[in-house]
Symmetry: C2
Subunit: 261 residues, 2 copies
């Protein structure tokens, strides 16, 4: 039996609470590690999967995009049910596509979308605790939204990075397409869509926006922090549990890259 190597792309949802982030690390639970383990259990192959957006410890995903090559002749239709059978309950494959070997989910992604959820009530909400960060005092959404809009366009985001010196990031200019803050019931949601992000950029941005919403930072002070292009002024880094990777976008909808087996 001749087995042709194929490239598969998966859309994956996960509750990141119990994982040390997406990326594989030895001896600690990671989402990538769980997916690789499930692929091994299903196909017997040891593969390395890659993810389109590297989520940190405790960050959740509604639609992470993952890809890997396989020599297994398992039917694409069986991949979803098969992997979900072996995956833990807090990780699930939602869709699977067979794509051309030249399709690269990381370099061909045109943007990543993240939402950050703030529960803005004096009393905490146990039902929302795993997916929101509580801010007790009422936030001024108008001011936060005006500050958020300053992020739109191409900017050096050096002020919003944590630990820049130790990372292997070459430059800190990032292109932001959408940045907005809106109230949804007793939640305040920060939505940001960008080509890519620096480590902790979204969480440091939200921490800074909260200071604006609490009246501790003016719009011009927020602008000065952005223009300073150096860490230390922004933040604090808000907790990972409020952050959700909602989507990764490609030039065309992902389904259009599908080549039926």
């Amino acid at each position: 039996l001749y087995r042709k190597c194929v490239k598969l792309v998966l859309v994956v949802e996960y509750d990141g609470t119990n994982y040390c982030g997406f990326q594989y690390q030895v001896k600690v639970p990671t989402v990538q590690g769980e997916i690789e383990k499930a692929i091994f259990q299903l196909t017997g192959e040891n593969v390395r999967v890659s993810g389109a957006s590297r989520t940190d410890t405790g960050v959740h995903a509604l639609e992470q995009v993952v890809s890997f090559r396989t020599n297994s002749n398992i039917l694409k239709e069986r991949i979803i049910a098969g992997l979900n059978h072996y995956l833990p309950q807090d990780v699930a494959v939602k869709v699977a596509y067979k794509v051309s070997d030249s399709f690269n989910i990381q370099t061909q992604a045109v943007s990543r979308e993240y939402n950050y959820y703030i529960h803005n009530r004096e009393v905490r909400s146990p039902l929302k605790n795993g997916f929101t960060y509580q801010v007790k005092r009422t936030l001024e959404i108008g001011a936060m939204n005006r500050a958020a809009r300053l992020l739109i366009g191409e900017h050096d985001m050096g002020s919003f990075v944590t630990d820049f010196s130790h990372s292997n990031i070459k430059h800190s200019v990032r292109k932001v397409f959408v940045a907005q803050v809106e109230r949804q019931g007793d939640e305040v949601v920060f939505k940001i869509i960008a080509r890519s992000f620096l480590p902790h950029q979204v969480r440091n941005t939200v921490g800074t926006l909260i200071r604006v919403g609490l009246g501790k930072l003016s719009l011009s002070e927020f602008e000065s922090i952005l223009e300073a292009k150096q860490p230390g002024l922004a933040g604090p880094t808000v907790p990972a549990r409020g952050l959700l990777l909602t989507k990764v976008n490609y030039p065309r909808p992902l389904g259009e890259y599908d080549e039926d087996l």
Copy 2:
């Protein structure tokens, strides 16, 4: 210092995942036990609290109503922040009222409202897993809703009880004010408002309604089960994690019973 005994009513939200139900039991974690522990830590008093609706192991509450008597002279305004300081993250006091000693949260409740959340998609949702029960095949909501409406009014709910013989329930007639099924995105929500409920009544009802929604049970078969008034035909009992106590109603809004300290 003369300390007058006062009766306090709390509105409490909890994620029931890690609790063996509301009601106190020795050696296992219960919501009542956590609240009593927090009251002890805050006031030094050993009190027994009562709850308006006894939720089972793993069932959640958006607005459970709890009451207890205290000789502590702690200000009502400090009760909320004080108890939340000592309570675990998955339980929170949202509102506190000082009420007349004659006000009884159990006997004066006119109705209890419960929602049951079904995630109706082929692939499970890790982000919703803690608060929904997954049904893979598409449910026929119209049929489920027609069956649900048969429950409205005063009926002997004996068919929807689990373990009736071992409980100390004297009669199984219950008055239902609202019973409906509706689709909300990829969720199917069963809402029921009744004077009170029998053990496992809601979860056995939902299990039976799912059989209707899957075409395994006709409307008249559902009606026959209701009319049989005996356990064994209904169900299966769906998991507790999809069930949420949303509200307990009194003749007047709870705030109107408040007597300022």
